[in-house]
């Protein structure tokens, strides 16, 4: 008889724990690991429909899966971390919107079908998580880049092309950098990828900072949107470096 109350207490505690923890809307077996690996134990992490990740339902090309992240419905986004639960390299990229909208579009490599998620940290320290499943036959992370088999990238490494569009809702900037973005998971081809990028306006004001990781696709192409109050954008400057110390430094005029 004295055992019953103890069982009841245990049951109540278990129920409380389960009730408090939000279930993963994407129902991924890896979510618990993601929570533990990517966020501090005491961090506040919430699933939030205001963070959207749009990808194709089925990816035609596992080496170039288009992803659009939008956390602009949240106020005061300090940083956005993008990750894929089932990739051998989980982190895809992180960006700090600074003066840009909390939105970014790019392409990624997927090794198998996986949730692709964005966690947006607002200035109050809370992480807001959104995501989507992308189905793919996979293999995107363990295939050599096309660049690694061609001498072309050596002469064009870190070459930038881009363009600025005026739109009623604010300027749009697209920037493409020639880089193999090798993951290090293809035999005898070491990891070689762009790590850090900063995009500034003509007055050296930072618009956005991007930390890229191996799963970003070869020859990365970033699409960012600026709020209407960022006017007078005659040109943008992009600076940064890859993990071998090669510098990116270019200006794209309107």
């Amino acid at each position: 008889m004295p055992q019953l109350p103890r069982l009841a207490v245990f049951g109540l505690a278990l129920w409380a724990t389960l009730a408090i923890a939000q279930p993963d809307p994407l129902d991924s077996a890896r979510w618990g690991d993601m929570r533990a690996q990517l966020f501090a134990a005491d961090a506040k992490v919430e699933f939030d429909s205001r963070v959207s990740v749009i990808g194709p339902l089925t990816a035609e090309d596992a080496m170039n899966v288009p992803i659009a992240v939008d956390a602009s419905a949240l106020p005061d986004v300090a940083e956005v971390l993008v990750f894929a639960d089932f990739n051998p390299i989980i982190k895809v990229l992180a960006f700090r919107p600074v003066a840009a909208r909390a939105e970014l579009a790019f392409r990624i490599k997927l090794q198998q079908s996986s949730p692709v998620r964005a966690a947006a940290r607002t200035t109050d320290g809370v992480w807001h998580v959104g995501g989507t499943w992308v189905i793919t036959t996979g293999g995107g992370c363990t295939v050599p880049s096309t660049g690694s088999a061609s001498p072309e990238w050596q002469s064009r490494l870190n070459e930038v092309s881009g363009r600025i569009w005026s739109r009623p809702e604010g300027n749009r900037v697209r920037l493409r950098i020639i880089h193999p973005m090798d993951t290090g998971l293809a035999a005898s081809i070491p990891a070689f990828y762009i790590e850090q990028l900063s995009i500034t306006d003509g007055q050296q004001r930072v618009l956005m900072e991007i930390d890229a990781f191996e799963p970003v696709s070869e020859n990365p192409l970033f699409t960012l949107d600026l709020p209407p109050n960022v006017t007078d954008l005659a040109a943008v400057q992009i600076t940064g470096r890859d993990n071998n110390g090669n510098k990116v430094n270019a200006q794209v005029a309107r």
Partner: protein, 310 residues
């Protein structure tokens, strides 16, 4: 004892039950003198259709049977051979493969290797990419692929006239859907076997497409005196309508990609663009349009961006 016998009988029967394999239910339909078509489903690859989404055909000449495309699997090829045997006792003398996509050549095992012919570029591409295609087909259609292996055609076909058993075939060496697209026009019957240069009421696929080249190939086909047109996918037609439909779609696709890149859209936005009503009637467009964006948009984007200054 009876039960034991029954169990033994069941065990003995099991391998037989498995060996029956996938039945494509091939029912050749005669569309012109000596000319039969095996029409595929207007679908994507699935376990249910066993990869039979393609049209293949055969022409019974007095010098033997000419087969156009061998289909998606060994079993499809074997069942084609059986269907031909029901129509004629003449042997298969030529198997012409229109291009290197898996649903068109993976039935090659069912035929004599020396009968298999294709354009030189198709032979090169089957040798290079065939194995990966085959593996992917196992993932897409499953057990219907059982025992299918790549057989590379041996005869390199040259464009021109082939007189065979009372039929005057013209081989046209074209490209655009892939780097090597063979079309076969039978001047005797007026039947054009267009391969995947022509789709009909089924959205064209573009994994190896060059649209400008494809449009130019369609102009070549449109100049032929066509009485019956066998598209690579979709129903047989009695006029050149499917050529115009394929051309209209490709021109629209090219235009929408160029305009989207010039307007600065990113790939996800382009994939979600609304589709014109005219093309919404084509089968599987909701799957094929985003696939085509994936294949073709990167080049359009590159062309729309300006070089940066250092």
């Amino acid at each position: 004892m009876k039960r034991l016998l029954a169990a033994l009988a069941l065990i003995a029967y099991l391998p037989l039950a498995q060996a029956t394999g996938f039945d494509y239910r091939l029912a050749p339909r005669q569309i012109a003198a000596n000319t039969w078509v095996l029409e595929g489903a207007q679908e994507d690859f699935s376990f249910a259709n066993g990869g039979r989404i393609v049209n293949t055909a055969f022409v019974v000449t007095s010098a033997g049977v000419v087969v156009i495309d061998s289909g998606p699997s060994r079993q499809y090829g074997e069942q084609t051979v059986a269907a031909i045997a029901r129509a004629t006792d003449k042997p298969v003398v030529k198997v012409w493969i229109t291009h290197h996509h898996p649903d068109h050549f993976l039935g090659n095992q069912a035929f004599a290797t020396k009968a298999l012919g294709a354009l030189p570029r198709t032979i090169t591409d089957i040798a290079a990419e065939g194995k990966a295609f085959n593996e992917n087909m196992y993932r897409l259609v499953g057990d219907a692929m059982r025992d299918t292996e790549v057989v590379v055609p041996t005869e390199a076909l040259a464009p021109g006239i082939v007189e065979l058993g009372g039929h005057r075939f013209e081989l046209l060496a074209l490209d655009g859907h892939t780097a090597g697209d063979l079309a076969v026009f039978d001047h005797t019957t007026g039947v054009l076997f267009a391969g995947d240069l022509v789709f009909h009421d089924r959205t064209p696929t573009t994994p190896h497409a060059t649209i400008a080249r494809w449009l130019s190939s369609l102009d070549t086909l449109d100049a032929l005196p066509i009485k019956q047109l066998v598209p690579g996918h979709g129903p047989v037609a009695a006029d050149a309508g499917p050529i115009r439909q394929t051309r209209d779609y490709l021109k629209w696709l090219d235009g929408v990609l160029t305009q989207s890149a010039a307007a600065g859209l990113h790939m996800t936005e382009v994939m979600r663009l609304p589709l014109p009503k005219l093309f919404r009637q084509m089968a599987v467009i909701d799957a094929e349009f985003p696939r085509s964006v994936s294949h073709l948009y990167p080049a359009a984007e590159e062309a729309a961006l300006k070089p940066g200054a250092h």
